[in-house]
Structure formats: C-alpha cells, structure tokens
C-alpha cells in the first residue's frame, strides 16, 4: 500500500489533488482511498489531504502518519507545519517551488534522502504555480503537482492523471490543467535525468 | 387500509359519544306573541301574514289576514293601527308600516278578484245581523265561514255604516267599501238594505236562531247653545252623511266646528274641501287632551284648518259666534275666564259625539242598556240569550277595527252558543318583548314613506290623500318585520351550534334539537334574532 500526504492551504485544491490522485489510481484498476484532514479550515489556513493506493481493498481509516510520498503545495508551510513528520526514509517529496531544497533551507531533508538512494529520484521541486498561471491563468498548482508526482514516483501514469483531471473538470479548465500537468510531468522527468547525469 | 392501532381512527366515530349528558339546561323552540298581534283590536295575526308577504306570496298573506279580518283594504286606510305603536321595531328605527302593507294586500285582492273560501258544510242555522257596518259585516262574514246563514239588514241604501256615512271619501274611497262588502255577499251572506228593524222580537220571528246587533251610533249629541233662528247650526253626523247624497251641504265661507274628536277633524277638513275660506275648530281643552289622533290634527293643520284651544262657544249669532276663553285650573280642568271673543261663522257644526238608537230593543226581555250602550258579557252576548251585540253600540272605544273585532268575537261565541256550548278563547302565549330579540341580525332599514297627495289638491278635491305602496316597497316594508317571537327559519341556531346539535327540517318545517349532542350552551337562544328559543333547566 502506497500512502501519499498532501500539504497546502485552503483554496489551493489540496483535497481535490488527493481525490484526483485516487481517481487516477482507480483508472488503473487499483483500490484507492482519498480523504481530507477534516476540519472547518477556511481559505489560507494550512490543510492536509491523504491518499492511499493499493491492489486490495483498503480498510484502514486512520490518517496517514508515515507517508510514502509527500506533496507540498505551498513552501511557506515549511516553517509552520511539521510537513515531513513520519515521512518514510525512502519516501518521495515534491515541493511547489522554483527554488532548490537548499535555497528553501531544507537541504538536510534532501540530503538525508540522497545519502541512501540514487540522487534526485525521490525529491524534486517544481514551479507548479507558475505552470498553473501559464496554462490555467490562476495559481492552482494541484494538477501540475500530480503530473509531477506521476513522473517522480512512477506510481501512476500521466494518462491516468489526465483521466482524473477530466473526471473532475471539463472544458477549458480541464484542458489548462492537463497542459499544466503534462508540462510538469516533462519538467520533472527532465530534472531527474539532469540529476542523474550530474 | 390496515390502520395502526389507536393512533389512527375512523372518520366521525365520535358520534358514539353522546355529549347531551353534559347538559344542565336545554333549549326549546317556542312561539311567542308579537306585540302587534297582542294589540290588534281585530285580533289579526299580523306577524303571520307579514311573513307570507315578505316572501312575496301576497295571496297567501291576504288569506292569512282575512282569517281574522274580512276588510283589509278598508283597514289599510281607516284603521288607526295601534299595532304600529306597539311594534318592537320602534326601538330600532321606526315601526313596520303594517297598515300600508295591509292596504297593499287589500288592494291586491281587489285588483286580482281574490274571493273567500266557501264554508265546507252548512249548519242550517240562520243568524240575523242588524247593521251593515264593520261590526255587522265582520260578524256575518265569520258566521258564514263557520257554516251558518247570516242575513244582514240595514236601514241605509248602501252598506258600510259609519265607514260610509262617517268617514270622508278622501280617507276612504267608496269603491273600496263596495268591493269588500261585495266579497262578503259573494260568500253567501244575505244583505237587505233600506230595511229598518224597529222591533227585534218581531224580526226574529222570521226564523232566526240568533241575532247580532251592530247598529252603530248615528245620533249626534246636542249641546244647548242660545242661537238666533236665522243662524245655521248643523251636526257633524248629518254633514258627513250629507256628503253621500246628491247635493252636498252648503256650509258657507266661514265654518266653525265645535268638538275635539276625529269627527270634528273630518268635518273641518271636509269644509275646507267644500270651499270654505275659514274652517275653525273650537275645542275647550288643550291639544294634549284632544281625543282626535295627532296625525289627523297634523293633516288638518297642513290643509289650512285652524284650531282654537281652550275655548267654548257661548252663543251663536247672525253671522258669527261668541267664544269664551278657558283657563286650566290647578287640577288641569278648563274653567271660564269671562274673556269673550266674536268669530265670523256662516255655519256652526257640532261634533260632540254620537249616541245609539236603542229604540228597536225595547221590550226585549233580559236585555240591559246603560249610558247609551248595550251591556254585553265577555262573549259579546246581551242579557237576552242568543242576542249578541258589538261595535259602537256595545263599547266606548268606537273605532272600525274594534267593531270588526267585536264582530269576530261575537261570531265565534254565537257559533259555540248555537251548538249549545260556551265559547272559551284559547290561552294567549307569552309576549315577545324587545328584550327577547337579538336585533344585531336585522339590517338597518327605515320605514317606507307612503306617497301623499299634494296640498293644493287636498284643499280642493276629495281625492284620497294617502297613496299606497307598490309591490317592491310593500315587500320591503313587510321584510322590515322582526318576526318577533316566531321562527322565520333564518338558520342561525342551525349555524351557530358548536356541537351540530340542531337538525334542519327543511323549508317551512323549522328545526329540532338533537338532545343526544346538545350540551346546553344556549348559544342558539342567544343568537336567535326573533326570540323563538327558550332555555329551560333540565329536570334533575
């Protein structure tokens, strides 16, 4: 079972991201369970959403405390919320930013990872908001991040992500998100290749 | 559907619960005596015939009326209608115009030629009725309807008695009298005119089983007034009687009438119509004391008749009379003052009342007379068995309506007497007083004014002064009746019962109470407009 935790702020489509991720997994014939961190949070407040993916029925209802993957939709949360709490050593981390982990002052997180595993293939930063602005016109990074996470984790295919987006949105909004997700997918793939060759 | 136990119930099942057992008082329907009926001298069921009139069935109304009084058209003109004085509606706005509706019905009957129902069976008895005045006509009519053969004899050449010879045309047109007399004759009553009975016993020998005396009062009372022979002194009776003849009496330009009764007024108004410049009534007392009806006085004054109150005539001279002024003493009686005044007078008419000619009654055994009238018992029978009397000759209240009442009363008593019984009038129900009514339910509707002849023609002609009502306003007037004390099926009780405990029996059949459910709240009685429901205590 693969467990993903998504951090963001109210209004950034965090919950939708988790739901789309579950839909993408469902598209691939797998079992998936997405749920928000229930609460009465309003726009701007830190929120968390969860997604479990497995090949058998998922019965577990507890929150995800030891994620296999982490998607951080808003780097400003890094200093407020213990986003990395419980993250597995071999867990994936995708952060919505145009800056590097080091620049963000979380090099050690990346470092910790890099020490054991092949460099870069488990962490990546992605300017998802910019991609969103470019393709959708609004800084809603969730679809782009899903595209990026598909590339980073290989957990789901880009096609599944696109299908999930189509399930949630329609028309131009869907197209914009799909474009953002696709470019993000390519961006991460490129980043990983470069990292390998570095 | 299979209903859930207890929480769901079948419709109307509460009929099983007889709430009548809660009752401590119970409502009952009653018929109370309306004040109009109570005061009618002719004993008419006024409320009864008004009820038919208001629903537009005039013939039914008329037939209800003539049950008691065969002369509606005459009554509608000449009756002084005490009923209207007693009418409960006076307390609301104005009395119901009973008299005008009565006249309307009478005129309708004449117009449509409605006739009386013939008696079912004949008794074979014959009754002599002396006098074709209101008393005699009424007695004969009722006797005939009761199956007896009535024979009216009268000295005059026309029937009607004082109605014809005492009441001026402008109040009572003669064709009206003729029509209503004829209807009585058509019923089978035998009428012999120009026949004077001088001896009753003799007349009876023709083969009569009983007799009714209704000869009226035709003899003018005289008063001694010193008068020069050139002077012209007449009496009211002969003046009014003279109006019936070919040549009307010549009264001159200045006429003085002495007296204070309705007859004095009639004469004074007649004089005006005959062309008198001055028609003066001299009366020794005040207007308050005057026996004549106020509305008659009013009409007279309107027509230019003048009245000298507190005055007596002491002497009748060549072309004038001497009048002495009177003054009321401490006890309110007029006393001479010694002040005198001369008034121009071509004619002096004395209207001091009338006496009855009792000569025909001499040597009738047992028959008692006194103060100019025949003494009768409660059943109108004189001291002589089988001889009854009524009208002016048998009472001091001398009106047409009283006479008609006498006639009816006597007829009923005679009917009983002829069967060897004694007449006992049925008990009178309780009076429907104003307090018994709930007048909220009556719309405001002021009395209808009858059309009145314009004043010029009233002073010059003998056309009828007071007009009649047309159909709509006659019905309107009838509908102003409050139906005091008698259910008119307004449905109030039926509507206002909170327990649906009033059963409606359909048109004409009124209602009845369903005592199974009546809780005795008394709302029906409280909301009954006409006081036809009484609330009585349940006997425990």
């Amino acid at each position: 079972m693969f467990q993903v935790r998504i951090h963001g702020r109210g209004g950034q489509g965090v919950v939708t991201a988790a739901e789309m991720l579950s839909i993408a997994a469902f598209e691939e014939g797998r079992h998936a369970q997405a749920f928000p961190s229930f609460g009465s949070e309003r726009t701007g407040a830190p929120v968390v959403a969860f997604c479990r993916i497995a090949d058998r029925e998922i019965r577990l209802r507890e929150p995800i405390m030891e994620p296999d993957g982490l998607i951080i939709q808003d780097p400003t949360l890094l200093h407020q919320v213990d986003v990395f709490s419980g993250l597995k050593l071999d867990g994936y981390v995708l952060i919505n930013t145009s800056r590097s982990f080091e620049e963000l002052g979380i090099g050690e997180v990346a470092a910790g990872r890099r020490a054991q595993r092949r460099p870069a293939d488990r962490k990546c930063s992605l300017p998802a908001s910019e991609l969103a602005l470019k393709h959708i016109g609004r800084p809603v990074p969730n679809a782009a991040l899903l595209g990026g996470f598909a590339a980073l984790s290989g957990l789901i295919t880009l096609d599944s992500v696109i299908a999930a987006i189509r399930d949630k949105f329609s028309g131009k909004v869907a197209d914009g998100n799909i474009a953002a997700a696709s470019e993000a997918y390519e961006y991460v793939k490129r980043e990983m290749r470069e990292d390998v060759h570095a | 559907m299979d209903k859930p136990f207890a929480i769901t119930l079948n419709p109307g099942s509460s009929l099983a619960n007889h709430t009548g057992s809660w009752r401590t008082t119970r409502p009952v329907y009653v018929d109370r005596l309306p004040p109009c009926n109570a005061t009618c001298p002719a004993g008419e069921n006024i409320q009864g015939w008004l009820l038919h009139a208001e629903s537009g069935d005039y013939e039914k109304a008329w037939r209800a009326l003539v049950e008691n009084n065969p002369l509606p058209a005459i009554m509608g003109r000449a009756c002084y209608h005490p009923c209207e004085g007693a009418c409960n509606r006076n307390r609301l706005d104005e009395a119901v115009g009973i008299n005008s509706v009565e006249r309307f019905l009478g005129d309708e009957a004449i117009r449509n030629g409605w006739r009386f129902d013939k008696p079912a069976a004949s008794s074979g008895k014959r009754v002599l009725v002396i006098g074709a005045g209101p008393a005699g006509l009424s007695a004969a009519y009722h006797l005939q309807r009761l199956g007896h053969q009535a024979v009216i004899v009268d000295a005059a050449e026309h029937a009607g008695g004082m109605m014809r010879y005492g009441i001026p045309k402008y109040r009572l047109p003669r064709d009206i009298i003729d029509a209503e007399v004829q209807r009585i004759v058509d019923l089978g009553v035998e009428l012999r005119l120009n026949t004077k009975v001088t001896n009753l016993a003799e007349a009876m020998r023709e083969g009569f089983d009983a007799a009714f005396l209704g000869v009226g009062a035709h003899i003018a009372k005289r008063a001694y007034i010193p008068a020069g022979d050139a002077n012209k002194v007449l009496d009211a009776v002969s003046v009014l009687r003279g109006m019936e003849g070919e040549d009307t009496p010549l009264l001159g330009r200045h006429v003085v009438v002495y007296g204070g009764g309705n007859t004095a007024i009639d004469v004074a108004r007649t004089a005006k119509r005959l062309g008198a410049e001055e028609s003066i009534i001299v009366y020794r007392r005040t207007r308050e004391k005057m026996p004549a009806h106020d509305f008659e006085v009013e009409d007279a004054l309107k027509e230019g008749v003048s009245i000298k109150w507190l005055s007596t005539i002491t002497e009748a001279g060549e072309s004038d009379i001497m009048v002495e002024k009177m003054a009321l003493d401490a006890n309110g009686f007029p006393q001479p003052t010694g002040e005198y005044e001369r008034i121009e007078a071509d004619t002096l008419v004395l209207a001091l009342g009338q006496d009855t000619d009792l000569s025909l009654l001499e040597n009738v055994p047992g028959l008692v007379t006194g103060n100019g009238i025949v003494q009768v018992d409660a059943t109108m029978m004189t001291g002589h068995p089988g001889v009854f009397a009524g009208g002016d000759m048998a009472g001091n209240e001398r009106t047409i309506t009283v006479a008609v009442g006498h006639g009816k009363k006597a007829a009923k008593a005679m009917d009983a007497w002829l069967r060897g019984e004694k007449f006992a009038p049925p008990p009178k129900p309780e009076l429907a007083t104003f307090e018994r009514l709930n007048t909220w339910y009556y719309s405001d509707a002021p009395k209808t004014m009858r059309p009145v002849l314009d004043i010029i023609r009233r002073q010059s002609t003998f056309e009828e002064v007071l007009g009649g009502l047309d159909e709509t306003n006659a019905q309107f007037e009838a509908r102003r009746c409050l139906s005091c004390g008698n259910c008119f099926e307004c449905d109030n009780c039926y509507g206002v019962c909170p327990d649906n405990a009033v059963i409606k029996l359909g048109p004409g059949n009124r209602f009845k109470f369903n005592y199974d459910y009546c809780k005795g709240c008394g709302m029906c009685a409280a909301e009954c407009p006409c006081g036809a429901i009484a609330v009585v205590a349940e006997d425990i």
Binding site: E19, A32 | D2, I7
Partner: protein
C-alpha cells in the same frame, strides 16, 4: 458499475435510484454534500418526480417529512449531530405514527464544546426513538443500506436511520459499485403506504391515546422492531440475489472462528480493526471481529450466538454514556447475560480523535492478556485531564474546561493528526 467517488455522492446517487418523492434539506456538516448532490439532481432533471424542499430547521425537515410520508410520498432527509437533536421531538413522532421515512445520519459529536468531527454520540442518543438504526462500515455498505432501508421502512411502516461516519466515510473518495436503476427497481417496489391522507378514505392520524391503550401502542412499536430482526436477514438475502453482493444484515463477523477474544464495534472503524486483527491473527493470536450493523433493533440473539465460543469481548465504541461508560457495551452485556464472559468497554474516537492501528494493537494485546480495565478511554491524554482536575480542586473559578485544555495543549494547527 464501479466508480471512484465521495461517500456523500455515492449515497446521494443511491437515494436517487430509490426514486424518492420528497426530500427535505437543512444544511449541517458533514451531511451537507448528500442533500447538495440530490438537490442538483432534482434541479437538472436527473431525478424526476421529486420535490426538494429547503426548510428552515431540522425540526421542520423532519416535520415536512412526516407530512409528505403521511400523504403517501416516499420521503428522505439527512442530518447529523445538533441537527438530529433539534429534530428529536419530530423523530419520535415519525416512528410513533409509523411513517416509513429514511434518514441518513452522518455521525458527528454533540457539543458543548461544539465539535464537528465524527463519533456516534448523535445516533446513540436516539437509541430509544423507535427508529431502526443501521450502521455502515464502508461507503459501499452505506449506499447499499439506503436501498435496503427504503424497502425495510415501507414493509414495516417504520422509519429507518442509516448511520455513516461523518467525514471518515461521507468525505472519503473510494471505489463503490453503483447499482443500475433496473436492479434497484427490481428490489424496491413503489411505495404502498399502510395509512395515507386520502379524501376518498378519510382517517384521523395521530389521535390522543390514554392509559387504556398507550401501553399496547408502545408494545406494538416494540413488536415491529422484533419483526425487523427477522426481516433484515431475509432482506439481506434478497439483496444479494439482486445485486450480487452481501450487505450487513444484523451483524457480520470477521475471522471469528475459534476466536477467544472478540472485538465488537460499529461503523467505519471496523476496517482499521480488521487490519489489526489480520496482523494479530498472523501472530497466532485467536482474535476476531463482530461488526454490528443493526443497532436498533439490537440483535441480542445473534450477538450471543457469535460470542458463544469466546472467552472475552472488547466493545470499542465511539460514544459515551456519561456516568456509566459504554452504550453499545451495555447492550452487548445484556446479550451475553449468564454466559460468563469477560467484557471490556473501550471508548474511542470521540469528537474525531483518530483511532490508530498502533493504539489498537496495544489495546487488543492488553485485552488478550486480560489486563484491560473494564472501561478504557483510548489515547486519553491523562496529563491534560489531571491538570484540569487539579485546577478545579484548587480554584472555584477554574474557567471553561475546553478552553483550558486547548491552552495546555498549545498550538494544535501544526499537528497533522
């Protein structure tokens, strides 16, 4: 048809398939998405022949439902928490009148302190309201139970509450198998009311019943629920025949064969428990699970039968009968009267407190070792509790409990769980 969707959405669609004729809606989390979904389906014509009424309160919602049901319309509404409490008078009335209304309760805690998160306090507070109460373990079961609920309600002429955990199920995206309209029509006949307001056959419904008949009326209500005990398992079979999958029935067990310890619970927490039980079984621990679907009527016989061979049982429930402990536990104890079993009550997950595998492992180990307290409050922060108790011992004016505790805990926003 399989689909990945939100629990609320799944329920809304299932309800729509049941062809409801009147739906009353008053917003309260976490039930809101269900009526929102239905409202949309009515507006866009996807759900035909249905009146969707936005009422001014839950009290009105249940009252409107009473009116429409009594007039022969298949009626649905949903609520939670304070909303359920606000409509209580009408809730009792609906069952008293025997009106087959179906209502979703998206289970949520009851204040004060106000708390929008999940537990079972709302439904269990209505234990005795005369409604049938069915608890769903998964979104699949939630939607299936709604379909069953309408049939059950209308057959018995009793209202049915379908209880599903607020947020945990209502807001969870997971796979469900959505039946077709044909399947639902085949299972659920049109509503044929026991009693109806019809001018052709006038009746008075809701008479005042005095001492002479009230006991009987109440007994009949009880008898009806006893009938439900027979009916529910039969209907579960009919359901399986039409839809090709099982639903709860009265109870359902998991790895209960030869279990010495039986864990008893209701609702979505059963899933987490099952995962734990699997691991303990693998470790050779003879432990099983008994899930209760029908809380009312309470299947005394079935529960007793399921516990026949075990030594002890742990009732883990998301509700607290203040002053005694468990609510479900009390019922279970009644079921096993005289069977000489050791019983433990565990109060867990109140107000949305996460119930984790970790805690459950520790709990069940302790239970199997027979070391558990008769009544346990899972993951209770004793530090905070004792501090407040101490505070109250010391000052008369010790201040508001909830606020004090929050102060003691410090910033909670940063916490993930």
């Amino acid at each position: 048809m399989l689909k990945q969707c939100e629990g609320s959405h799944a329920v809304a669609e299932a309800v729509a398939l049941c062809r409801p004729e009147v739906i009353c809606a008053y917003p309260i989390s976490p039930q809101t998405h269900i009526v929102e979904g239905l409202g949309e389906m009515v507006k866009d014509g996807q759900l035909k022949g249905c009146e969707f009424i936005n009422v001014e309160s839950e009290f009105a919602a249940m009252s409107v439902a009473i009116g429409s049901s009594a007039t022969g319309a298949r009626t649905y509404t949903a609520t939670a928490s304070q909303g359920l409490l606000f409509m209580v008078e009408a809730v009792f009335n609906a069952s008293g009148l025997g009106l087959p209304i179906v209502m979703t309760v998206a289970n949520r805690a009851i204040g004060a302190p106000i708390n929008i998160w999940n537990d079972h306090s709302d439904s269990t507070s209505q234990r005795d309201c005369g409604w049938i109460q069915l608890f769903a373990e998964t979104n699949q079961e939630a939607l299936d139970l709604h379909i069953e609920a309408f049939k059950l309600a209308e057959e018995l002429s009793l209202p049915v509450m379908v209880c599903m955990d607020g947020f945990i199920l209502t807001h969870a995206y997971e796979r469900v198998d959505m039946p077709t309209q044909e399947q639902v029509d085949a299972f659920l006949p049109p509503y044929a009311p026991r009693q109806v307001l019809d001018p052709a056959h006038p009746v008075s419904i809701g008479a005042m019943v005095g001492p002479e008949a009230f006991m009987e009326v109440r007994y009949l209500a009880h008898a009806k629920q006893m009938q439900a005990l027979e009916l529910i398992p039969r209907m579960a079979k009919e359901f399986e025949a039409v839809f090709g999958r099982t639903i709860g029935g009265l109870i359902h067990t998991y790895r209960a064969e030869d279990a010495e310890t039986m864990v008893i619970a209701m609702g979505s927490v059963l899933g987490t428990i099952k995962d734990v039980i699997d691991e303990m079984r693998d470790a050779g621990n003879k432990i099983g699970v008994l899930g209760i679907t029908s809380f009312r009527p309470f299947p005394l016989a079935a529960v007793a039968d399921a516990l026949r061979h075990c030594k002890r049982f742990v009732v883990l429930e998301k509700s607290l009968a203040v002053g005694i402990g468990g609510i479900v536990a009390t019922d279970v104890r009644m079921a096993v009267t005289g069977m000489g079993l050791k019983g433990y009550t565990v109060i867990a997950g109140l107000g949305g407190r996460a119930i984790t595998k970790k805690s459950l492992h520790a709990l069940f180990d302790k239970a199997t070792r027979g070391e558990l307290e008769p009544v346990t409050f899972l993951d209770l922060d004793w530090k905070v509790v004792n501090k407040q108790l101490e505070r109250e011992r010391q000052h008369r004016r010790s201040g508001p409990v909830a606020e004090n505790i929050l102060r003691d805990l410090g910033v909670v926003a940063a916490k993930i769980v």
